[in-house]
Amino acid sequence: MTALELRDVSKVYGVGPTEVHALRNVSLTVDAGVLVAVMGPSGSGKSTLLTIAGSLELPTTGEVIVEGTSLASMSRNERARLRRRSIGYVFQDFNLLAGLTSLENVALPLELDGVGAKRARVAGMQALEELGMSDRASRFPDELSGGERQRVAIARAVVGDRHLLLADEPSGALDSVNAEGVIRLVRAACQRGVAGVIVTHDAQLASWADRVVFLRDGRIVDQTMPPPGPESLLTPDARS
């Protein structure tokens, strides 16, 4: 099943002399359970690809289809609902809300979607438990380490019934040990059927993906299928 499909997507910022083509005719398909890594130099359009895929902004031309539905036909509120229910985001800066505890941060998308606080927290706690963070549930973000914050962010991204996980340099602010921990979690989520797109500069992390897409000047210049790599190191539990 295709979770995400980009058809001839282009994105232009600015007008006239300030015009910048961030993406040019990009087409990409990500199926459920597949992790795609996007690599490329700075300014190649990686983050723009992710924000368009995540419905945070609309393409100038082309079509984005998430779970079989085109974003172009959706209103702002419908796209917001799509993000609440289907798309999980992980940012380099964690972007946890400082005023909420770890559990509340994780449960927030569900509560925004109208799920009762109690049920949302049960689901949030389950997501934290899966990531080994249940003992940090009542901590505020500024009481957590960088790795812990990113794990909470991943929990928030996968809580509920999300089918698409988008991660923009999720390990950019972490040391190598924590970075590997994070990619393991993303990989594990994909093993559970979530389609994942991860933007990274790190070839080592990209090697965890099922497919690597290379971007340059807004175009996909190459796609590769990395050999079985660190993924093989996953424990049987993680694989399942």
Binding site: A80, R83, Y89, E111, L112, V115, A117, V122, D161
Partner: protein, 864 residues
């Protein structure tokens, strides 16, 4: 996926959990960031507190009821002990309360004090009497006085004083709580015998009052009008409007900055799937929390301040105020509206944040600014509407709707013009040093928040400037007082004060005059006077000399009843102990139509008319050849359009007295070299020509004493005491109520409010540009550069706010006074200089001093 709880997947429709989650986050943020919001909170609380105190003061400022009526609705005054009329009134109106009046001469002063025989438990007059200390008088040997009267007479409780020839013991200090300016002495009912006047209070319809036919002794009939609450309500509403506008602007400035601070968090919410409504709710909830906390805190603070400051306000409004006699409806409305205003102020930046691109919000990039000229157009329209409303709000009676509408529209006009002025400032700063340039450009870049802050600063300073300018416009010119503070006039008048009331001059022999002149010289020496100028008045030698019984004169009422005194002249020959008086030509009551006639003013006044003796002419630098041969009167005053002198009554030779006659003199205006513009100054002089033409005679009447320094209260008291012993009276400077304290107070409050808004705004704007500061630090900028940047930001905002506030105040006041702009020519230079120059200097200095700390190391801005 199989691990997910299935029930979570269902698509719920309830928005309650989302609202709760958003509100929880907002509340947590408020708790975490209360320090950042403390200035917004404090300013909202301050505005509500000020509004509460202001509305309470406006509500209580007017007289609760006419201070002479008590609870009655009508009064009637009879001259003398008119028992028949009082009995007739009692029969006609039922319950009637009687108050007898005499007057007591104030030793050494031309003034007199009202003596009342009044029942403290009187049916109607009870609210007009309050015992301050001691007790009410009983019997014929006791008296109570107001505190200032007791001070004037130099007597304390337990002491004795002579009241019209009767020794009485002071047993209490009293006051009229409805009129603290009311100075009087109180005796028990029936103890002012015989009364010079009898006042009765009663309840009756207008028809009944009109139908009542008193005898000729009835001197006045009055009916209390209904209390006009329109003005008080207008002031209350106008104050609330201004207070709420201030709350709105402060909150808008604060919340705009808060929205920018939270932009990334709000973007994060959007990325998580929050709708625009959710994002707006997050900011609006914060506005609600700040509004509720700020307005309730402000109202409580205002009430506490009101209770604490009530004694000060009683001095201001000159009547006692019940602490909890408050416009509760207005206070509750203020709390509710302040909360609503705060929410509304949060809504606009919330809307902008919700509409912003999520990607831009996540990266912390503010939305692009709208062109300033769009706001300027709206500002011009609002300003025009506001000016038009204010111009037509003050026709015959104030129109509350136009006043409030005009205030709001003018404020909005200035607010919308703010971005244009900020842009202009940025353009003007193009050639300024780099830090100043950066500061004014930042103001222009962040115009959304700097314009709201500028609006709040302008409003605070605009109110201060409006009060200062209005107070200066309404101020009584110094020349309208009786004498300069360094002058006194010693009058050759009987100690009864008769001269002032009857236009009389005491007949004295040359030897007696010489003796008194010596005593006046001694008095002048004790005051270190450098000038003692003899003043003469003109009398008609053929007018009859009359004798007056001092005891009866003592029973005459106070200064307003001059005609009554005349009727008490005993006869043409001096009785034993009587005082001989002669009615001079000089002191006739005249009517002045002042130059203010064009302003709609008409002043009735009495002009002292002295003889233009060589000494007087020399003193004022007037040469004899300056005076035309046919001139009767010379004057330095320009406000004597139609001077009418009442000549003394003359005997027609057949034993019939005629008069008073009106004399229309030939008046010549001459510029006096020395200031002679006060009402008791010898500003109007009868010439030798007039003396000869009318057969008048100059007699010594007074001495003008001038000292190098203003006379102190002790000197004045000593002079009046000496005059009382010597048998003359002394007039000194009588200060008018000054509104200088009001001007200064308003300026100070305006400055403090503006500084508060500046502290909030500059602090928040500079925290927004923390990255710039870090970049500056990284590029080697010294603390001097950082200080310059913050100082210039604060100074630029302060200067713009002062210019807009003062300009707006003048625009509004010109519209208000459009019929007569003359009062606006009295400019409160010091107050305006404080606003226009002092505030920017203070702002620059404070910004300079408080911004030396090096910013934290270059790093990523955390998501908040």
């Amino acid at each position: 996926m199989h691990d997910r709880p299935a029930e979570v997947i269902a698509a719920p429709s309830s928005s309650g959990p989302a609202r709760r989650a958003i509100f929880r986050w907002s509340w947590r943020l408020f708790r975490r960031e209360w320090r950042q919001q403390i200035l917004v909170l404090a300013l909202v609380a301050l505005a509500v507190a000020g509004t509460t105190v202001g509305t309470a003061l406006a509500y209580n400022a007017g007289q609760p009821r006419d201070a002479t009526f008590g609870t009655a609705n009508s009064s009637m005054t009879f001259s003398g002990p008119d028992n028949a009329d009082v009995a007739a009134a009692r029969k006609a109106f039922g319950t009637v309360e009687r108050i007898d009046h005499q007057s007591i001469p104030v030793p050494g002063s031309p003034s007199r004090l009202d003596l009342r025989a009044q029942d403290p438990e009187g049916t109607y007059s009870r609210p007009t009497l309050r015992l301050v200390s001691g007790r009410f008088p009983n019997g014929g040997a006791e008296v109570a006085m107001t505190a200032s009267a007791a001070t004037t007479f130099g007597v304390r409780i337990g002491g004795h004083l002579d009241v019209n020839g009767h020794a009485r013991r002071l047993v209490g200090i009293v006051e009229n709580p409805l009129d603290l300016n009311d100075e009087f002495a109180l005796v028990a009912p029936g103890q002012a015998d015989p009364p010079a006047q009898v006042a009765i209070l009663f309840e009756a319809s207008d028809h009944a009052v009109n139908a009542f036919q008193p005898s000729v002794h009835a001197t006045s009939v009055a009916t209390r009008g209904t209390l006009d609450t329109t003005l008080a309500a207008t002031v209350v509403l106008a104050l609330e409007t201004i207070g709420l506008l201030f709350v709105g602007l402060v909150a808008a400035a604060g919340f705009t900055v808060m929205a920018q601070r939270r932009l990334r968090a709000l973007g994060m919410l959007g990325a998580l799937g929050a709708t625009d409504r959710h994002i707006r709710s997050a900011m609006v909830a914060n506005g609600a929390v700040v509004g509720v906390v700020g307005s309730v805190t402000g109202a409580v603070t205002g009430l506490v301040a009101w209770v604490a400051l009530t004694p000060k306000f009683e001095d201001l409004v000159k009547h006692r105020i019940a602490r909890f006699h408050l416009p509760w409806w207005a206070i509750v409305v203020a709390i509710v509206l302040a909360t609503v205003t705060s929410i509304a102020a949060a809504w606009w930046p919330a809307r902008s944040a919700a509409r912003a691109s999520i990607v831009a919000a996540l990266s912390g990039r503010p939305s692009p600014q709208k062109p300033a000229h769009r706001f300027a157009g709206a500002g011009g329209v609002f300003l025009a509407i506001g000016v038009a409303c204010l111009a037509f709000a003050h026709q015959d009676t104030p129109k509350p709707a136009l006043i409030i509408g005009g205030t709001i529209a003018t404020t909005f006009g200035m607010l919308f013009l703010g971005p244009l002025f900020i842009r202009m400032l940025a353009m003007l700063g193009r050639r300024a040093p780099i830090m100043v340039r950066l500061a004014v450009r930042d103001l222009a870049r962040y115009q959304a928040r700097s314009a709201a802050a500028l609006g709040a600063i302008s409003l605070a300073l605009g109110i201060a400037a409006t009060v200062a300018i209005s107070a200066a416009a309404a101020a009584v010119p110094e020349a309208a007082t009786n004498l300069p503070a360094n002058q006194a006039i010693a009058y050759l008048e009987p100690a009864t004060g008769l001269g002032e009331d009857t236009n009389a001059v005491q007949v004295m022999s040359s030897a007696d005059v010489a003796k008194l002149a010596a005593k006046v010289s001694a008095l002048a020496a004790s005051l270190h006077a450098h000038t003692v100028l003899p003043l003469s008045v003109a009398i008609n030698p053929s007018s009859p000399t009359v004798s007056v019984d001092p005891a009866q004169l003592n029973a005459s009422p106070n200064a307003s009843g001059g005609s009554v005194s005349i009727r008490r002249v005993v006869g043409g020959s001096a009785a034993p102990g009587a005082i001989l008086i002669q009615i001079p030509a000089s002191l006739g009551r005249v009517t002045i139509i002042s130059n203010g006639a064009q302003s709609g003013f008409q002043i009735s006044d009495q002009v002292p008319l002295y003889v233009a003796t060589p000494a007087v002419l020399h003193r004022y630098g007037i040469k004899a050849d300056q005076i035309a041969k046919t001139t009767d009167i010379i004057t330095s005053r320009t406000d004597l359009h139609g001077l009418v002198v009442h000549a003394p009554p003359r005997d027609d030779g057949a034993g019939v007295r005629r008069g008073p006659e009106q004399w229309h003199p030939t008046i010549q205006h001459i510029r006096f070299s020395t200031d002679a513009s006060h009402t008791s100054d010898p500003t109007t002089l009868v010439t030798v020509h007039a003396l000869q033409h009318f057969g008048l005679k100059a007699v010594q009447a007074a001495w003008l004493i001038e000292t190098p320094r203003p006379l102190t209260a002790i000197q004045i008291s000593a002079a009046q005491h000496a005059a009382a012993i010597a048998g003359f009276t002394v007039e000194t400077h009588q200060s008018r109520p000054s509104n200088a304290r009001l001007r200064d107070g308003a300026t100070l409050i305006g400055l403090l409010l503006a500084l508060g808004v500046l502290a909030m705004t500059v602090g928040l704007i500079r925290s927004e540009t923390a990255n710039d500061l870090r970049t500056l630090a990284a590029t080697g900028a010294s603390s001097m550069a950082r200080r310059s940047l913050t100082g210039a930001t604060a100074g630029a905002l302060a200067l713009l706010g002062a210019l807009l506030g003062t300009g707006g105040a003048y625009v509004a006041l010109v519209a208000w006074h459009r019929r007569d702009l003359h009062p606006l020519t009295r400019v409160p230079y010091l107050n305006l200089a404080t606003i226009l120059v002092g505030l920017p200097i203070i702002a620059i200095s404070a910004g300079w001093l408080l911004s030396g700390r090096e910013p934290a190391a270059v790093g990523h801005q955390p998501l908040e």
